[in-house]
């Protein structure tokens, strides 16, 4: 997937879930103040500023790309801090190593999860004993991805920081009163001396408090003491998103700025051979045609002039030898890779594939297509290479610090010469993660060619649709041996990959013998993480195949799954909650069907019951999605609910319509009509229910996506008898005439 995987957990003792955080040494506060404190405010510890007037600002080492994480992260800090919520603000951390996200590194380490970053220096690969905060600095980690903000940054960083700052404020009050700290309590941004009733506002104490060293292991609240965590508090970012005032990356305006429009080689990997600049030389506003290795950029005084000019050029690109690649050749390559026997074994349990002989063989092959991220804000970046040799870049990405390192690397400049301003993103879904930064690279290269000129490079929708890093096309083959009672005794799954094996393929169902293997397929189409990543395809495959086994056994798909989840109480409870709320088993009118699916990823289990209607002409109407989520506790239940709703719509667009196809080595789709989305009139009713428990806090942004497609196609099967094994649904005829004979 063109991204190096990196395991940072090697040095961490398994199970040592000590929540603590290595705060900045106090000498660093001054530098933090210089970087990110306004007049009248100061950092008291990492991530938390308190102003003289009592305003508390939580500085967030993540981007705002829509999932709303600034609010729950602030809730977590403010709750431990006993802050007055009406005085709490949130802002984006500067892209400076001082604000590297140590808690994120800590979280990934504790959870033993692979993280990827384009900007990780090679010398850090492998186990290291370096403290995680320092490690995060070296790694340039400010990533927003992996549904990690709340469960890692929040749990390991924000709560600890809030609690530590509260203790510092108490110490400051105790020093003023010359009284023991045990005589103080805190409430709504005040430190109260219980015996005397005298109290101090946090703003009054902040400067004194900042003189103390924060405890790395402050006392955290028990769940029963939470005042803000677990409450559906309104998002802090929404007011600026209804009046047009929020400035996204694309809204960057600099004096004397030039606009860039780009045409990239249509075939991935193709190089620019030649371009005749004459057709645009005389056009109004055109400043310069910049020829890059694999693209041509026109700079003009206005974007529409740049775009019209680049459209008027007829650059010649080579095809890097990929001119014959098409969706069909890719499909053939996938099937050949699976069928030629060169399967690389991943893992197995029990007797593995040997056990296939112990029952009736069921074999099925599934496929998912390439998908584009298509964030509403087309990727863009503004860059200025100044005459003093420094570079300044403005953009919305999913990693500010990593972007800075990437820009420095691209420009061939030392990191100290580069400033990166992280701005809000109009959607991310993985498109703005490290490794997917062609928009930064082109903007920086263009700016480097034009010293002293600020350049805003914007991908048109067409360029973005054709130069994304796509959710991979994946083919998966299952073989199961089924016992006479219909239950599987062996489960063998081989799938294609352009990277290594995916742990997300491994099932949580209790099947005694399992084996997994991969078949590598090399295609020139660039791929990258797409909201829920590997789970987005394995969720569809596994939950489709298990449904087929259930129907094959003439068992109810819910009961069948439940029988295989007897040693997974959380999964079982989540599945049953969704089923119960959806009225599973109650009669439906003709033409309607229900499908169920359950997937666990990013620390959260999500189960759906989809209800669809398919009319005689084969038109699918998704009526209802009933969900149950097990995420420990939701820090902001309304925010979590919004992420599930979001996942259903996002997942439905992909499952019903989404596909990027390849012809002559290039992407066929150009813009939204060719890459269709679910619209208001197609949006189903969505219900969200929680299965709460004391399990660790789980992710919110991604876990809702994977079970959408299988719930949908399982429901379509229930309604029509047509089993969809290849997405998207739109490619499959569902009219009555196309259906199998009616079943009993």
């Amino acid at each position: 997937m063109n991204r190096r995987k990196f395991l940072i957990g090697g040095a961490t003792a398994a199970g040592a879930l000590v929540v603590g955080y290595a705060f900045w040494p106090s000498r660093r506060l001054a530098r933090a103040d210089l970087l990110a404190a306004k007049s009248g405010e100061r950092f008291v510890a990492s991530w938390i500023k308190i102003a003289n007037d009592g305003t508390i600002t939580v500085v967030i080492p993540h981007c705002d790309m829509g999932s709303g994480i600034f609010t729950p992260l602030s809730q977590m800090a403010a709750d431990e801090l006993d802050a007055d919520w009406s005085r709490v603000r949130a802002e984006t951390a500067p892209a400076d190593p001082l604000f590297a996200n140590g808690p994120l590194a800590e979280g990934f380490a504790f959870e033993q999860v692979n993280i990827s970053a384009d900007s990780i220096p090679a010398f850090l690969e492998g186990p290291t004993a370096t403290s995680l905060r320092v490690l995060a600095e070296y790694m340039d980690v400010q990533t927003t991805g992996g549904s990690s903000a709340v469960r890692y940054t929040g749990v390991y960083g924000m709560r600890v920081a809030g609690a530590a700052v509260r203790e510092m404020l108490v110490k400051a009050a105790a020093a003023r009163m010359i009284a023991p700290v045990g005589e103080f309590r805190t409430e709504t941004s005040r430190v109260i001396h219980v015996p005397s009733g005298k109290s101090f506002g946090y703003g009054e104490l902040a400067a004194d408090a900042a003189q103390y060293s924060p405890s790395s292991h402050p006392k955290l609240k028990a769940k029963s003491e939470f005042k803000l965590i677990g409450k559906p508090i309104r998002r802090l970012d929404i007011p600026a998103k209804v009046d047009g005032s929020l400035r996204y990356g694309i809204d960057t305006q600099l004096p004397d700025m030039w606009y860039g429009a780009i045409r990239i080689s249509p075939v991935f990997g193709g190089k620019l051979v030649s371009v005749d600049e004459k057709p645009v030389a005389q056009l109004r506003g055109v400043k310069k045609v910049v020829q890059l290795d694999d693209a041509v950029v026109v700079l003009a005084d206005r974007f529409w002039r740049a775009r019209n000019a680049v459209d008027a050029l007829q650059p010649v690109f080579d095809n890097a030898g990929h001119g014959e690649v098409s969706s069909k050749t890719i499909r053939d390559a996938h099937l050949a890779a699976l069928n030629d026997g060169k399967i690389k074994k991943d893992s197995s349990t029990g007797a593995g594939a040997e056990a296939l002989k112990n029952g009736t063989l069921v074999e099925r092959v599934f496929n998912v297509p390439y998908l584009a991220h298509a964030p509403m804000e087309p990727p863009n970046a503004t860059a200025l290479f100044k005459n003093d040799g420094t570079l300044e870049v403005w953009a919305g990405t999913q990693d500010g610090l990593g972007s800075r390192a990437f820009c420095a690397k691209t420009a061939g400049l030392h990191l100290n010469k580069v400033t990166f301003h992280l701005l809000p993103s109009g959607g991310g879904f993985g498109r703005r993660l490290p490794g997917l930064w062609n928009f930064l690279a082109y903007a920086v290269k263009t700016a480097m060619a034009m010293p002293g000129m600020p350049v805003k490079l914007i991908f048109t929708r067409e360029q973005e649709m054709q130069h994304d890093y796509y959710r991979p096309n994946v083919t998966s083959r299952f073989r199961a041996a089924v016992h006479s009672d219909g239950m599987p005794v062996a489960w063998v799954n081989d799938y294609t990959t352009d990277e290594g094996p995916n742990p997300e393929a491994h099932i949580f169902y209790s099947v005694p013998n399992q084996a997994y293997g991969t078949a590598k397929v090399a295609v020139h189409v660039p791929t990258g993480p797409w909201r829920s990543v590997e789970a987005s395809w394995h969720g569809f495959f596994v939950e489709s195949f298990i449904d087929e086994l259930a129907h094959g056994a003439k068992r109810d798909p819910l009961d069948y799954r439940a029988a295989l989840l007897q040693d997974k109480p959380r999964h079982l409870a989540t599945l049953k909650l969704a089923a119960e709320k959806a009225g599973w088993g109650t009669p439906l009118p003709p033409g309607r069907g229900r499908g169920i699916a359950i997937v666990e990823c990013f620390g959260t289990i999500v189960a759906y019951v989809a209800e669809v209607e398919v009319n005689d002409a084969g038109v699918v109407k998704v009526q209802r999605f009933t969900s149950a989520a097990a995420c420990g506790m939701a820090v902001n239940p309304d925010g979590f609910k919004a992420q599930i709703e979001s996942a259903v719509i996002f997942g439905l667009s992909a499952a019903l319509y989404g596909e990027i196809t390849i012809d002559h080595g290039a992407v066929v789709q150009q813009n939204f009509p060719g890459y269709k989305m679910v619209l208001l009139g197609e949006s189903p009713a969505i219900e969200v229910h929680f299965h709460e428990s004391d399990a660790p806090v789980g992710g919110a942004g991604e876990p809702g996506v994977p079970p959408v497609a299988p719930a949908l196609t399982n429901a379509i099967f229930a309604a029509t008898g047509v089993r969809i094994r290849e997405l998207p649904v739109k490619n499959r005829a569902l009219a009555v005439s196309a259906r199998p004979p009616a079943r009993l």
Partner: protein
């Protein structure tokens, strides 16, 4: 080739080509960046503004054709305090990334002005803007509440 454009009640005399897209004139000439670029071909609605009260996708409107019109952008809609649609968007916590919401709010506000109590079918036919974050269920809820208030003769 001067063009006189009235945006949010302010008259601008601009030296731009008549075929320049209204979207880019609003964004780059007038520095009103609340109106967003999404697709450039009127397929997504992120650039929706009001032209004489009617919702139009400004990325395909030549500025010359809007020369004598009253144009309202998201910045103008709430200039005198939040519009009812904007307030409903806050009450229902609609936006996620927010990028499409200027266009959504402009499309919905123009639509409700002509049809204050639409049926679901009318709403679905009229509002075809794309939202990648999937805020559609909350948009439906917000519009339903606005429509119900209108239907009940409630305050705007």
């Amino acid at each position: 080739m001067g063009i006189r454009l009235t945006v949010n009640g302010v008259v601008h005399d601009l030296d731009v080509e008549p075929d320049a897209p209204l979207l880019w004139v609003i964004r780059d000439e007038l520095n009103l960046t609340g109106t967003k670029f999404g697709c450039g071909i009127a397929a997504c609605g992120a650039c929706t503004v009001h032209v004489n009260g009617k919702a139009m996708r400004s990325c395909v409107v030549p500025v010359g054709s809007a020369a004598n019109a009253e144009i309202t952008t998201i910045e103008g809609l709430g200039a005198g305090g939040l519009n009812a649609v904007q307030q409903a968007w806050i009450d229902h916590q609609v936006p996620q990334c927010g990028y499409c919401q200027s266009g959504m709010i402009m499309a919905v506000s123009a639509f409700l002005a002509t049809n204050p109590s639409p049926t679901d079918g009318q709403l679905a036919a009229a509002i075809t803007n794309i939202c990648r974050c999937g805020t559609l269920p909350r948009i439906s809820a917000a519009v339903s509440e606005l429509a119900a208030r209108k239907g009940a003769g409630g305050p705007r």
